[in-house]
Every structure is written in structure tokens, then in C-alpha cells.
């Protein structure tokens, strides 16, 4: 009777994951071929140009709103549908504003990656 040695059969993905666990520390120098490097550099600059204004708008909205509340305390007493306007500006306004900002950024970022 021959003893059959059992071998684990696994998908390439599984083997890759196992290899990753063992190969820690063996690290390869990242390299890009020239065409890719050019495209990557262009995308890097483009995405940076798209992202900066979005971040500035976000910072302006978030850091500016407390200043508005300080400058115009009257917003606490003016009421819209019974709710102080300053409460509405804080509890409601930022969310649609940020969602719009996010989707505008998403569209611009995806358009930049579109191939001609």
C-alpha cells in the first residue's frame, strides 16, 4: 500500500495571499515603463489641480461657518418655520453642500482619467 501524499490545491489568488505572508521583507523596487510614467505624471498633476480647489471649498465652508455665527449672533434669533436660522445652517446645510462637492469632485476626477 503506497501512502498518497495529500497536496493542498488552491486558487492562484489564495497562493498569492499565502506567498504574501511569507515573503514579507522581500520588497521589489517599483518601476513604471516610460509610457505609463508619462501618463501617471500627467494624471498626478491633473488630480492635484482638481483636488485643491475642492479642499479649499471644504475648508472655507467648515471653518467659515463658525465665523459667520460669531459675526452675526442675530442668526440665533431669526427663525425659519420656528427653528433658529443658525441651527438650520449647522444641522442641515452642510450635508447637501458636502454631497454636491463630493459628486462634483468625483465627476472631475473620473473625467480626467477618461481615455481619448
Amino acid at each position: 500500500m503506497t501512502r498518497v501524499r495529500r497536496v493542498a490545491v488552491s486558487s492562484p489568488q489564495t497562493r498569492l495571499a499565502h506567498a504574501r505572508g511569507r515573503a514579507r521583507g522581500r520588497w521589489r523596487v517599483p518601476a513604471l515603463d516610460p509610457g505609463d510614467a508619462e501618463r501617471a505624471a500627467a494624471l498626478y498633476r491633473r488630480q492635484r489641480a482638481i483636488g485643491l480647489p475642492v479642499l479649499l471649498a471644504l475648508a472655507g465652508l467648515l471653518l467659515g461657518l463658525p465665523l459667520v455665527f460669531t459675526a452675526w449672533p442675530a442668526l440665533d434669533t431669526v427663525r425659519l418655520l420656528g427653528v433658529p436660522v443658525s441651527w438650520l445652517l449647522l444641522a442641515v446645510l452642510p450635508y447637501p453642500a458636502m454631497a454636491l462637492l463630493a459628486f462634483a469632485q468625483l465627476r472631475a476626477a473620473e473625467r480626467a482619467e477618461r481615455r481619448r
Binding site: 488552491s10 523596487v29 505609463d36 510614467a37 479642499l55 465665523l67 427653528v83 459628486f103 468625483l106 481615455r115
Partner: protein, 565 residues
């Protein structure tokens, strides 16, 4: 009792979905990121589900009652974090192919030392974030049942570790997405019901805050933790067993487990932890709970910590790796902004009603339970019981969702980055990590969920934010610079938190900067990283390592022959 059944239902549901995922569980990679085959919408529901913790479900409304309308800045910052994430890290981070921040550190800078340091930071952030989840679970159970605080904490810990050890992240992705829907429903329906049921008088009172100085009715206050009362005028109280007592003017220590009933019309004692809810400062939409006189700086501090800390939360970052590629990761972030925006419209409703109906929670420091305490105040009958059960269910779902992700990421850091290990190691590590978190939570009952979570955000903003942002956008970053920056941010933020917890009380603007260090610790970490990097030389491959992160997937699949993910 109904509330208990609801909790059991959530725990069982989570376990079932967890066990169902076991068949598919094969490798470490499976366990950690569910093999990266999740659509952006499902994934953003999972991200939101993971992110909406007990701090969001309970903590924001609690802080609203305690600190005032300005508490609504917290959810604004929580949401803004995803806009920052979308712009700065989502797609490039996914393209590194790294599973965690320590992986990213190694992929971008090839430094095993930095890998270990970031793994330690993961443990710090995870701990600061997980402990309040467990403590909130315990408080909620104590509030809706007669059980002690510790029982709730222990049950919560057991449920989470069993689910994780059985199912891992594949389970967690479905669990989280399911739980986001559940939480959204369980938060919105009771809110609408409360507003409708409360009646016009309460609704008007909610929008016209007055300072809480006299008890409006005979009010029992149940102290789950030791508390201090500062009494101005002699106040008669009695205990549930009928014994009467008079609190003389001065300072009174109240032991945990005490119940005091204050009569109608009695003056409300102070707690020394800020003014009572409802005053003029309370109604201002700015954050200055300790009356430092710098409300704008106080608000900015919270915003900086939460908005920049989000991108450094290890359990959220890992969630982005379940996207198939960078583009899907970016979409996930954008959809998440919208999903969170819907949820965060509602904590203010609970807070405003809570200030009118249960302001006495501020005396016992149990403001975190305001959400579950409300329904029975509005309707003592079966309607209130049903709504309390629904909210308890939601709070437990919130707690489970977040702690699943946190424990996973903490055990990942130990088993994967600090020790050599595979799937077995990872599964076994979950249990001790949960045990330690439970032990810490038993000690931390007295600290607000919101405060601890914000500290977690502050540490993330001071360590991982500079590392990720500069690692992705600045080719000159060196390993030495990154290590210096992470250590500087870690020491600065943790040092400030330690002083705030154990040090002498500090007043004024310095006190503000100690309890909320983000405005100086984040720039300091960026500056330290940049300064040390500029003194050294980046590795020759540094530019290629950076550009690789900005190359969209099609090209990469063609160019290098590697499948994305």
C-alpha cells in the same frame, strides 16, 4: 424585556450572517478584505455601517444635551472626513494594493520599522475608538434593563469576538451593509414618531431652550457611575425605598448605584462639568463646553480632528480595499458622503427633545443614553416600549458594526504586522483583543463616548493623515521623515490626552488646546515630516512609487501585466 429581545435579535442576526460567510472563508486575504469583490454602493453602505458607531447613534444626541447645539459640529466633521478622503486618499491608497496602513507604509517607503510603528498606532486608535463602543453598549443595557453595567459590556464583547472568529470580514461586509440600512431605519422612524407624539408644547419648548434650573416634576435620577453634585441651596431628596434626606449646600459625592428622587420645583445641582443645559451659551451653534471663551477655536479643533482623522481610521481605510480598483474606491467615498448626510440630519432631533424631556441625565453623566430614554417619556404605554426596543436594537447594531471592524483591524495589526502569522494567528488574536477592550471599557464608564472617539480621531489626524497625504502627494517624503512625523504626532496627541485625563486642570485657551490638541498636533506632525524629509534624500525609486498610485487601472493592467487587485 422587549428591549432585551431586540438586542438578542440583533446579536443573533449578526451571528447568522457571520456563520453563513464561513464556507467562503479561505485565506488571510479573504478574511481581511472579502476578496475585494464588492460594488461601490454595497461597499459605501458597509463603510457607513461601520462608521456610524455608538458615538454617532447615541453620543451626538448626548453631547447635544450636555454641551449644547454646537455638538452638531461633530457629525459635520465626521462627514467632511469622507470628502477629504475622496480627494486625497481613496483611489491612490487602493492602488497600492496594501491591506492596511502598515502595508501602505511598506509599499510606499519599504520600511519594516515604519510598519511596526504604524501597527502600534493602529492599536492606539483602535483602542480609543473601541472602548467607548463597549462602554456605550453597557450603558444602554443598564438603562433599559435592571442589569449592571458590566454585564452589558461582557455580553457585547462575547458577541463580537464570536462573530469575528467565525466569519471575518466577508461576513462583516454584508453585516455592515445590512446594519447601515437597519440603523438608518431604526434612527429615523423613532425620530419622526417622537416629534409627532411629543405634542406642540414640547416641540415649541425644544426650539426655545431655557436653562435647566428647577425640576419640572418629581424626578428620579439613577447614578450608574460615581458622580459629584454641587448644591447651592438645601435640597430635599428621597430614595426609592422612601427614606428622605436633605442635600446641604456644598459638594456631595454620589456613589454608583444610588437613585435620588428630586421633588418638583427643587433647584437643580451643578456637576462641575460645565453649566446645566439650556442656557444662552448652550443654544449657540458653537462648541465651547468648558467655557474657555474661545468658541471658534473650540469648534475648529473638533472639525480639524474629525475631518482629518477620518482618513486615518484604520478600520475605515481597510474597508476601501474591498473595492475592486481605485475608481470604485473613489465612488465608494463619494456615495458615503451622501449616505452619512441622511443619517446625520437626525441626532439633533433627539438632542433638542432630550433637553426638554430628560435634562436630568446631565446630573448622572448618563447623557449617552438620552436617545433610548426618550420614547418612554413621550408615551409610557406600549408605543414607547416598542420605540425604546427599536432604538436599543439600533444602538446595539451601531455598536456591533463598529466594534467588528475595529477588533478585526487591531487583531490584524498584531497578527500580521507585529507577529509573523497567518489565518490561524489572526483568528486566535481576536479573542484576547476583545478581552482587553472589555476590561478597559469597564474602567471607562464615566467618560463620554463622544470625547473618547474624538481623541481617537485626533490621534489618527496627527499620525496617519500626514503619512498618507504626504506619502501620496509628495515625492520628496523620506522614510526618516515619515517615522519622525508619525512619532511626533503620536507623542503630541497622546501626551495631551494623558495630561487632560490625569494631569492638573488647565484653564482658558491652554486648557482647550490640551483637551483638543488637533489644531497644533496635526500641523506639528506635518511640519516634522516635511522638515526631516527635506534634510534627507528620498530613495531613487521614490518618484515611481508615488506616480504608480496615480496611474489608473486600465493602463496598469496592460503595462505591468499585474491584475489590479
Amino acid at each position: 424585556m422587549a428591549a432585551l429581545a431586540a438586542v438578542a435579535l440583533v446579536v443573533l442576526g449578526t451571528l447568522l450572517i457571520g456563520v453563513r460567510g464561513v464556507a467562503a472563508l479561505r485565506t488571510t486575504s479573504d478574511f481581511l478584505v472579502a476578496s475585494r469583490r464588492v460594488s461601490p454602493l454595497l461597499n459605501s453602505a458597509a463603510v457607513s455601517g461601520e462608521y456610524l458607531s455608538a458615538a454617532s447613534f447615541l453620543g451626538v444626541a448626548g453631547l447635544f444635551v450636555k454641551d449644547g447645539v454646537g455638538a452638531l459640529w461633530y457629525p459635520v466633521g465626521f462627514t467632511a472626513g469622507y470628502v477629504a478622503m475622496l480627494v486625497l486618499v481613496a483611489a491612490p491608497m487602493r492602488r497600492t494594493g496594501a491591506l492596511t496602513v502598515p502595508d501602505f507604509a511598506e509599499a510606499r517607503l519599504a520600511s519594516p520599522a515604519l510598519r511596526r510603528i504604524t501597527a502600534v498606532v493602529v492599536l492606539v486608535i483602535g483602542g480609543l475608538y473601541a472602548v467607548p463602543q463597549f462602554s456605550a453598549a453597557g450603558q444602554v443595557l443598564a438603562a433599559v434593563t435592571t442589569w449592571p453595567y458590566w454585564a452589558g459590556v461582557v455580553i457585547a464583547g462575547a458577541a463580537v469576538s464570536v462573530t469575528l472568529a467565525l466569519g471575518g470580514m466577508r461576513a462583516a461586509t454584508y453585516v455592515q451593509a445590512f446594519q447601515f440600512g437597519l440603523k438608518l431605519l431604526l434612527f429615523i422612524v423613532p425620530a419622526v414618531w417622537l416629534v409627532a407624539q411629543a405634542g406642540p408644547e414640547v416641540r415649541t419648548a425644544a426650539l426655545h431652550p431655557v436653562e435647566f434650573t428647577r425640576f419640572a416634576a418629581d424626578t428620579p435620577v439613577s447614578f450608574q457611575t460615581d458622580a459629584v453634585l454641587l448644591v447651592d441651596e438645601p435640597t430635599p431628596v428621597h430614595r426609592p425605598d422612601g427614606t428622605a434626606d436633605v442635600l446641604t449646600s456644598g459638594r456631595h459625592a454620589v456613589a454608583a448605584g444610588t437613585v435620588l428622587v428630586f421633588p418638583e420645583g427643587a433647584a437643580v445641582p451643578e456637576t462641575g462639568g460645565g453649566p446645566p443645559p439650556g442656557g444662552d451659551d448652550w443654544a449657540r451653534p458653537l462648541l465651547d463646553p468648558n467655557d474657555t471663551g474661545h468658541p471658534v477655536l473650540g469648534t475648529w479643533a473638533v472639525l480639524i480632528a474629525t475631518a482629518l482623522g477620518t482618513m486615518g481610521l484604520p478600520h475605515v481605510l481597510m474597508r476601501f480595499h474591498t473595492s475592486p480598483d481605485g475608481r470604485a474606491a473613489r465612488r465608494t467615498a463619494a456615495i458615503t458622503v451622501a449616505l452619512l448626510g441622511v443619517f446625520y440630519l437626525f441626532p439633533g432631533v433627539y438632542g433638542a427633545l432630550g433637553r426638554v424631556l430628560v435634562p436630568e441625565l446631565y446630573l448622572s453623566g448618563a447623557t449617552d443614553t438620552v436617545v433610548v430614554a426618550l420614547p418612554s417619556r413621550v408615551d409610557p404605554g406600549w408605543g414607547g416600549t416598542v420605540m425604546t426596543s427599536l432604538l436599543t436594537m439600533g444602538a446595539f447594531a451601531a455598536f456591533l458594526a463598529t466594534s467588528l471592524g475595529l477588533l478585526l483591524v487591531m487583531s490584524g495589526a498584531i497578527a500580521h504586522d507585529l507577529l509573523p502569522g497567518g489565518l490561524r494567528g489572526l483568528r486566535i488574536t481576536v479573542v484576547p483583543v476583545a478581552a482587553v477592550t472589555v476590561l478597559l471599557a469597564l474602567q471607562a464608564a464615566a467618560i463620554d463616548a463622544g470625547t473618547l472617539v474624538t481623541w481617537g480621531f485626533t490621534v489618527a489626524a496627527s499620525t496617519f493623515c500626514p503619512l498618507l497625504v504626504l506619502g501620496i502627494w509628495w515625492p520628496r517624503l523620506t522614510t526618516a521623515g515619515a517615522i519622525t512625523g508619525v512619532l511626533t504626532g503620536l507623542l503630541a496627541s497622546c501626551g495631551a490626552i494623558a495630561v487632560a485625563l490625569f494631569g492638573p486642570p488647565v484653564d482658558g485657551v491652554w486648557g482647550l488646546l490640551v483637551t483638543r490638541p488637533a489644531p497644533w498636533s496635526v500641523p506639528l506632525a506635518f511640519a516634522a515630516t516635511a522638515a526631516v524629509s527635506l534634510c534627507g534624500r528620498p530613495a531613487p525609486w521614490s518618484r515611481a512609487a508615488l506616480l504608480r498610485l496615480h496611474l489608473d487601472e486600465d493602463t496598469r493592467a496592460r503595462g505591468t501585466g499585474r491584475r489590479p487587485g
